[in-house]
């Protein structure tokens, strides 16, 4: 007995919040082990006492009581359970470790509206950090007997729970098997973030397109489940990871279906248009100003030339400087606390809006183009997609500054080819799942 106790104690002795408390249950001396930070000990003890009092009435022995309280486990598992926030009851006489579910400290937030995605006309719940709560949210959205879930614990020293969800009637069995096989093959690897998860699933970590479609909204996750995708939940990651990700997901939201069909199509076209504008517009500016001004009508060409009067450097340098300032503003406003955030907006607005033009450092037109581009970028669904497009934009600007309009076109070909070459689980990125209730193209 002492051996077990000392082994566990040794493991956690250097933690201030670790406790070993001697107590008695039905006059049998026992030890309670656990973390103060995870367990509300007073409440837990009252609970246990109440349970035991209840079972005593039926004249059961302590043995029976303990089996009612929890299950017996070996030292290894018991130590892990302590980390998970369970309470261990060790009997002093007997070499037994019972793992019980205590009253835990309230460490999880409640289910709240999404913080990173906005919902117009749709359910407002969003996923939280707790895995079970997320599964529950999905189960609430989809009342189907075909919903299947499978859990994994991955990592050797740092354990992480991972859950896989799919609808048996609409998902390709091969896809599910492949995903399960890869996760099981990499169960030893530590999966702490999306990048390591992608690596464990066998994706290259150098692709510029994120391999998962990430959503905070149970409604969207269910929409993809119905379309035959697989949903992964990573414990303590408040979003669903949808596999495989397709290009079309950048432009389609489930809540679009709450609008009449013409609006839905118009909205989706708008998003496609937004993505194209982001890619083309900055490059087009460089190409038209620096390399191919002759394709513009003469009045327009003259007015552009006039707006650039006095700007001391080439269009490429001009646009790169401004784009980087813009990226810095975006990044800074994501980093800063909400109270200081508006300062950045204000200062950035002054720089981008007026001062830089008045100082003749960049042209008026460029400011308009930058603004249009920034607005257009944001129409795409999913922040990780937005980053991809933002990055591709630079490739276009560089190509345009060398080859003019030809550079833009070849940039588009290059991006198209790159997108066409991506495959995950032998499903091409450009694949379109045509379900009956959706007019697909693209």
């Amino acid at each position: 007995m002492d051996a077990i106790l000392s082994e566990i104690t040794n493991k956690f002795a250097e933690n201030e919040d670790f406790f070993i408390e001697r107590s008695e249950l039905l006059d049998v001396p026992v030890f309670f082990l656990g973390f103060h930070s995870l367990i509300d000990l007073t409440k837990t003890k009252t609970n246990i006492q109440r349970n035991i009092n209840h079972t005593i009435a039926t004249k059961a022995s302590l043995e029976d009581c303990l089996t009612l309280l929890g299950e017996e486990k070996n030292v290894e598992d018991a130590a892990l359970s302590i980390l998970e926030g369970k309470l261990i009851i060790c009997l002093e006489v007997d070499s037994k470790c019972i793992v019980t579910a205590p009253v835990s400290k309230p460490l999880n937030r409640s289910i709240e509206p999404p913080t990173n995605e906005n919902v117009l006309l749709g359910s407002l719940n969003s996923f939280t950090e707790e895995l079970e709560a997320n599964l529950g949210l999905v189960r609430k959205q989809i009342l189907s007997e075909h919903l299947r879930s499978k859990s994994f614990t991955v990592g050797r020293t740092q354990k992480k729970k991972l859950s896989l969800l799919y609808l048996e009637d609409s998902t390709d069995r091969k896809l599910v098997q492949q995903v399960i096989k890869r996760i099981e093959a990499n169960q030893e690897k530590a999966i702490q973030n999306i990048q390591s998860l992608a690596k464990a699933l066998g994706f290259s970590s150098w692709g510029i397109v994120s391999k998962f479609n990430i959503t905070e909204l149970p409604q969207e996750a269910v929409f993809y489940l119905k379309k035959g995708r697989v949903v992964l939940f990573l414990d303590q990651f408040p979003a669903a990871l949808i596999l495989p990700k397709l290009l079309w997901d950048m432009f389609v939201l489930e809540s679009d279906n709450n609008h009449p069909a013409p609006m839905m199509i118009a909205l989706r076209l708008l998003r496609i248009f937004g993505a194209l504008i982001t890619l083309i517009l900055p490059g087009l500016y460089v190409a038209l100003v620096a390399i191919n001004p002759e394709i513009l009508q003469i009045e327009l060409a003259l007015s552009i030339a006039k707006s650039r009067e006095g700007v001391p450097y080439p269009a490429f340098v001009e646009i790169i400087i401004m784009l980087i300032v813009l990226e810095l503003i975006l990044e800074a406003s994501a980093r800063l606390p909400k109270t200081i955030g508006p300062t950045i907006t204000m200062v950035g607005g002054i720089i981008l809006g007026q001062a830089v033009v008045e100082a003749k450092l960049v042209s008026n037109l460029l400011i308009i183009i930058l603004a249009a581009t920034t607005i257009a970028t944001s129409t795409v669904i999913g922040f990780q997609n937005l980053l991809t497009i933002r990055l591709c934009k630079y490739a276009m600007v560089i190509l345009a500054s060398i080859f003019g309009v030809l550079g833009i076109i070849s940039g588009l070909v290059l991006i198209s080819a790159y997108l066409a070459s991506i495959k995950s689980f032998s499903i091409p990125f450009l694949h379109i799942q045509s379900t009956k209730d959706e007019a697909d193209h693209g």
């Binding site: 390399i291 394709i295 080859f403 030809l406 066409a420």
Partner: protein, 358 residues
């Protein structure tokens, strides 16, 4: 799996890429009146041979051209595959050299030729390395992005047409004696060979391909007739790229751009990227089948480097034209001999199969 859509899209895009540049000039140079006869002979030849070719291929479901020839014996495969590989290599060189020249003429007069050739080649090589499925999927994306502007400009190019120039209708068949007429077959022979290469990856229905070929006929006719109807034969024959000149004359006020040509040409050039990558892929398939030990990625890269070097050594447009003419013989060999041979091998194996069964 039936992937006719992918194959049709590829078929149409590669042909569109070839039609609008050299083809009108060749036909206009080959005869002074009744151009329709020259066009129709070309189109008819095209139809007969793609029909034969696809018929022949249909005897071997799930087999590509290379394995068909390999199945027919070593000598047969050398007789047909060696010229085919040479032809593809040459066409690759010619296309890259010619189109980069066109690009410099039309809109990048200050950019050096080597840079444009490097761009064309590197992007095509990238696509070719990613494989045939990527090529076809890229084709679909490019169609969605760039076919609308091409069609728009095509219809807009009727702006200055004078239909009287359609006359006289009678033709004198004198074009049979002209070099240019035979060169015009470039537009027909370039694109169809790939139908024999895609078989194990993509299956397609023959009827749909023929329909796609029918859909291309108006483009063949009007790419020649629009310059004639706009300028008249005498003027149109002065231009190297008559259709491009016509597009340059289009004036659309509400479109803030002055030169619609740019968009038209650039859209077609995206199709050229596809065409080149398809040719590279085909060449590498042949080479790889003969030397299976080498990784195909290295072969593609080596091939593009070789192509680039050869392109650098071609000094001017006249040499391109010469190369184009030397290539004609090979072109007719490919256009005629390959479909017929595939058909014959198919018939033979079918008969042989029947005898074996009996």
């Amino acid at each position: 799996m039936d992937k006719s859509l992918h194959v049709i899209v590829m078929y149409i895009l590669t042909h569109l890429a070839l039609i609008f540049f050299v083809y009108p000039g060749n036909i206009i140079d080959s005869t002074t009146q009744g151009h329709w006869a020259a066009i129709f002979i070309g189109v008819a030849v095209h139809f007969i041979f793609i029909y034969l070719y696809m018929k022949g291929l249909s005897f071997f479901p799930k087999k590509d051209l290379i394995s068909i020839y390999f199945g027919a014996g070593k000598i047969v495969s050398i007789i047909f595959l060696l010229p085919l590989a040479c032809y593809l290599l040459m066409i690759n060189i010619i296309t890259i050299r010619a189109y980069s020249e066109i690009i410099t003429i039309v809109f990048l007069s200050n950019t050096p030729l080597w840079a444009i050739m490097a761009l064309l080649l590197s992007i095509s090589t990238f696509i070719a390395i990613s494989g045939i499925e990527t090529i076809f999927r890229t084709g679909i994306l490019l169609m969605i992005l760039f076919l609308p502007p091409v069609l728009f400009v095509f219809f807009a190019s009727f702006q200055n047409v004078d239909w009287h120039y359609f006359l006289p209708l009678n033709s004198d068949l004198g074009f049979f004696a002209k070099r240019e007429f035979y060169q015009s077959f470039f537009a027909f022979s370039g694109g169809f060979i790939f139908l024999g290469f895609v078989q194990p990856y993509f299956s397609y229905s023959r009827k749909k391909i023929l329909l796609a070929a029918v859909a291309l006929v108006p483009f063949f006719i009007f790419s020649v007739y629009i310059p004639i109807l706009t300028f008249g034969q005498a003027t149109a024959s002065l231009f190297t790229l008559p259709y491009v000149v016509v597009v340059d004359t289009i004036n659309i006020n509400w479109l803030m751009f002055d030169r619609v040509t740019m968009f038209f040409l650039l859209s077609l050039i995206t199709f050229i990227f596809l065409f080149i990558s398809l040719i590279q892929w085909k060449t590498v398939r042949i080479i790889n089948k003969c030397i299976p030990a080498v990784n195909s990625v290295y072969v593609i890269v080596a091939l593009s480097l070789f192509t680039y070097l050869v392109c650098l050594f071609i000094p001017n447009w006249k040499e391109v034209k010469n190369l184009f003419w030397w290539n004609s013989m090979l072109r007719f060999y490919i256009l005629i001999a390959i479909p017929i041979s595939v058909y014959m091998i198919g018939l033979h194996s079918k008969r042989g199969g029947k005898q074996n069964d009996g």
